[in-house]
Symmetry: none
Subunit: 250 residues, 2 copies
């Protein structure tokens, strides 16, 4: 049997079974153990598989791929600092809700090694959460195709069964009159309910969100503490009586 054919067969078997023994491959290709070993070495060098004692296994792109996940979130040092600040607020034993969103996603690395329970409506957060071995509950509901967030009455009912020490929300607009707002009414409803189930609510928002308003109201300004990266003096003055703002200094 020719080399490329053997290689193809090896990869194929791996695809079916996740792991294969050398013996299986010897039989499948009717070649010697030595040859298979050489094949495996070569395929490993080509990153097609991973050799393990006794055979080979599919390489599950884990840590490598995960860094991609982290990176895929819009990368900005401002959001990173906000996320870190928020993450550091979480203490041992907390039950927290983490909303869908890029900034909230970036909190997760800062939760590492804390013994906490996380509830979320963000499917996209799960890879990181499980990677860091954080006990995670997902609420149920309709999967919103674009953002992969859970919404709808199912989500609300599911969410209602939990209580939180802290809730961390992303938000699109922070406005003196309109309060906290976000474009999608369905998501707004979920955020609203989360707030009502928590002792404390934190809104993670960079400075571009101030004095903006979108379609659906989530809450009044005084219902949450805002974590942001900077705020100009005028805005600081305007908002100071209405809400509580923590500015993350670099």
């Amino acid at each position: 049997m020719l080399t490329p054919e053997r290689h193809r067969k090896i990869i194929e078997q791996l695809g079916e079974k996740q792991v294969v023994t050398i013996q299986e491959l010897v039989e499948a290709t009717s070649s010697s153990e030595s040859t298979i070993r050489r094949d495996l070495s070569q395929l490993q060098k080509e990153k097609k598989l991973k050799r393990v004692h006794g055979g080979a296994s599919l390489l599950h792109q884990k840590s490598e791929e995960l860094s991609v996940i982290e990176k895929s979130a819009k990368n900005s040092p401002e959001k990173e600092r906000i996320a870190q600040f928020a993450g550091d607020l979480v203490v041992e034993g907390d039950c927290i809700y983490i909303d869908a969103g890029t900034t909230t996603l970036k909190m997760i690395p800062y939760l590492k090694d804390k013994d906490i329970t996380v509830v979320t409506n963000a499917i996209s957060h799960l890879d990181l959460l499980t990677e860091y071995e954080i006990k995670t509950y997902l609420i149920g509901g309709l999967v919103k195709p674009k953002t992969k967030a859970l919404v709808g009455s199912g989500a609300l009912n599911s969410l209602r069964t939990y209580r939180f020490d802290k809730v961390f929300l992303g938000i699109n607009g922070i406005h003196l009159d309109a309060g906290f707002t976000t474009p999608d009414p369905e998501e707004a409803a979920v955020k609203q309910l989360a707030i009502s189930l928590s002792q404390k609510t934190f809104v993670l928002a960079d400075h571009t969100k101030f004095n903006e308003a979108s379609f659906s109201k989530v809450a009044e300004l005084n219902e949450a503490i805002i974590i942001t990266n900077e705020i100009d003096e005028d805005a600081a003055y305007d908002f100071q009586d209405k809400t509580d703002i923590r500015v993350v200094t670099p």
Copy 2:
């Protein structure tokens, strides 16, 4: 045999078999090894094929560019056929539950363009489901880190709010006495409840699952219809009165 005819034959054989040995070509064209070598060198220069030690291979060795998502699942033609059969059972307007598992995952492409509603406990299914624009509800619950499936009381409560026309389950063991079984009690509970919420239940299981039993019982044999790829005569005889088996013929 004339040169162009030989070349045509070589390309033809390659198209059929992905790889050919020089010996095969020598026989097929009844020309000498030297000639074939020259042919291969030339065809390689013309980018018609790739020479390999012992023969030649197709340039685009069909490494099957499945969407990355599909690729990650265990690949086997048997499971594929089972999945297709199951997928074809779903009709317009159905509300179905799709269990976590590799075979059930492979059903999804066969649901394309059907106007249906899917409920699942499998986070890993969501990428494909949303890709095919299928209306999808996820049940809530604890995220089981290893399999990324949703389990626990939250999952059960969430699941209980739905009713299904058809339920499709993966299962680990099908046994005359033990019934349908699976290793994890938490997952078993979810499957159990799903069955009770549905008009019809289908179990997707290849032939290796017969006469196996795992830790947790999911249901009696008569509670579901089994879709499998093959079954030996003894097993067919044993099971025939106890349950309904559909064998997918290739």
